[in-house]
């Protein structure tokens, strides 16, 4: 397999998320992705990392996360890997966001919809015993 453009390993510490966002934003800018799509992708990558830290690692800050970016002729693929608790299928399934009923407000539950919204293809692949792999593909535009 062709070597990825970028492979970043980092600690599951929320204070590092701003660095991940900056790197992602700069990478997309350099590829000429328009600001609107890039903003959505930066948010989605951040949400995927946040999910891994909160849910896979239960908030532990000393675990390993890895982001790999592989572009090809059709897609820019982001892959996030952790070695934490595998997600259940119902936790990562596609959910549409509807206008919220003010009498039934619930904080949370936005990260997964943001990921599906930003990318053209999303695959959550939980490991059998440990770990999760999230593959997110952005279709390249002419």
């Amino acid at each position: 397999m062709k070597r990825p453009d970028l492979h970043l390993e980092f600690r599951s510490d929320p204070k590092l998320l701003s660095c991940v966002r900056a790197l992602t934003r700069r990478y997309l800018e350099d590829l000429g992705v328009d600001a609107e799509r890039a903003g959505n992708v930066v948010l989605a990558v951040d949400e995927a990392c946040t999910n891994a830290i909160r849910h896979s690692y239960g908030g532990r800050r000393d675990r390993k996360l890895a982001i790999t970016i592989r572009p090809n002729a059709d897609f820019i693929e982001f892959e996030l890997c952790d070695n934490g608790v595998p997600a259940r299928a119902d936790q990562v399934m596609r959910k549409e966001l509807n206008p919220c009923d003010p009498s039934n407000l619930k904080p949370g539950g936005l990260g997964i919809p943001f990921i599906y919204k930003a990318f053209d293809e999303v695959a959550f692949v939980p490991g059998k015993a440990r770990g999760n792999r999230v593959r997110m593909r952005l279709r390249r535009q002419e």
Binding site: L17, N98, L105, P107
Partner: protein, 105 residues
């Protein structure tokens, strides 16, 4: 990026101004300030988001929780001059119509 949080009191409300990025790292501090002021229960609370450069779902959840607490306490809760990036994430979350949004600080 760090988040600076300032608070001030007016005749009718508490105003909290957030400046920087609101994400998983920084949103607990904003949440703490908002919930502490709402616990006083004496005035409405406004959150000035004009200088928030980035907000993720944990930031949105913080605002939703503040609104819920304020609604239960029957005190006001409003957002002031949200930046373009904050408005985008509120629209993405389909929550922009849920909050009272004031345009000027």
């Amino acid at each position: 990026m760090a988040l600076d949080i300032d608070k001030r009191e007016t005749d009718s409300s508490w105003m909290v101004k957030a400046k920087g990025d609101v994400d998983l790292y920084t949103s607990p501090a904003l949440r703490g300030v908002i919930l502490k002021l709402l616990a006083k229960g004496d005035k409405a609370l406004g959150v000035d988001l004009s200088e928030v450069l980035y907000m993720d779902s944990s930031g949105v959840a913080t605002l939703v929780e503040g609104l819920k607490v304020a609604n239960n306490a029957k005190t006001g809760f409003f957002l002031t001059a949200p930046s373009e990036s904050v408005m985008k994430v509120l629209q993405l979350a389909r929550l922009d119509a849920v909050f009272e949004i004031r345009n000027s600080v």
